[in-house]
Amino acid sequence: MIAEHLHNLLLKSLDAELSPEESLKLESALTESEELRTLKEEYLQQKALISNQEFRLRPFLATRVMAGLEKLQETKEWIPGLSFAFKRLALPVFALILLVLTTAIVVEQQITVDTFLGVSVLSIDELMNDFIVSN
């Protein structure tokens, strides 16, 4: 069983992060323990195996990134225009809706969907009569 502090020293040694004192301590432990030597060998093999691989992406990443940024910039240009139009339109449209609603309530003295849409005065019979007269 390898003591935790020796194990940590071994791990740190793989990237040459040991102080001279720690190096001496590890060296002496390595001389004494075959288990620690085997572990070191295994770690070095593993490190070599992994760090020797080339982890690559498909070619032209930079081109794809720049294309992505261009799209982003286009969207950025488009959104302020939309928000400007919204700011300009929102208030007048809201005022118009309020006006129509108030007029409908004043005229009809009640609030219903029909009142709001202005169709409460219409009935099927009246519509049919209008249709017959017009023809």
Binding site: D15, F55, L69
Partner: protein
């Protein structure tokens, strides 16, 4: 060679060519992180692209407290961890999810022979077998080449935690490589 600071200054002024140079300079570092974390998958490609787009958006706020490479690696590792979380959620809620444990890897042709391609696929699959917390430590230490201290800083973890995760990750990796792939 133009320094990172100079390129950054130009990019901040709106020079896209300078930003493209930054991408080209750090492409392989970011690739190491995202491919190590996610394997050679479409998701890794998307995350790598997103890393630079995120950096572009936050470029004005980057004060240079850490090296540019370290900053990009931090974004890459965080986005990879987010992607893995999303994958987990997707697998959890997908009624029709396949039984495939890991996504299909597609190692790009970069002039390596078939044997090297197979070894690379084996290493990537073995890394994907590790829990994310162990994988991230291995990726930063062994692929990106950061020291234990730098790894701790990037992952915002105490040094002792990094060392203990590294130790457990290496044991697990040894098991996976030996048992699943017959690596000795």
């Amino acid at each position: 060679m133009v320094s990172d600071d100079q390129l950054l200054e130009e990019a901040r002024k709106g020079d896209n060519a300078a930003f493209q140079q930054i991408v080209e300079r750090y492409e392989s570092l970011v690739a190491g992180t995202v491919v190590g974390m996610l394997g050679n998958t479409q998701e890794a490609e998307d995350v790598a692209q997103e890393v630079f787009i995120r950096f572009y958006k936050s470029m004005q706020q980057f004060r240079g407290d850490s090296a540019l490479g370290t900053y990009l690696t931090r974004i890459a590792i965080n986005l990879s961890l987010n992607a893995l979380k999303k994958q987990k959620r997707k697998n959890l809620f997908s009624l029709f999810s396949s039984n495939q444990k890991h996504p299909e890897l597609s190692i790009p042709d970069t002039g390596i022979n078939q044997d090297q391609k197979e070894t690379q696929a084996m290493v990537q699959r073995a890394l994907l077998e590790l829990e994310e917390e162990f994988r991230s430590v291995i990726v930063l230490r062994m692929i990106d080449g950061y020291s234990t201290k730098e790894t701790a800083k990037i992952l915002e973890l105490p040094l002792g935690t990094v060392l203990s995760r590294l130790s457990r990750a290496q044991k697990k990796l040894k098991e996976v490589l030996t048992q699943s792939y017959g690596f000795t």
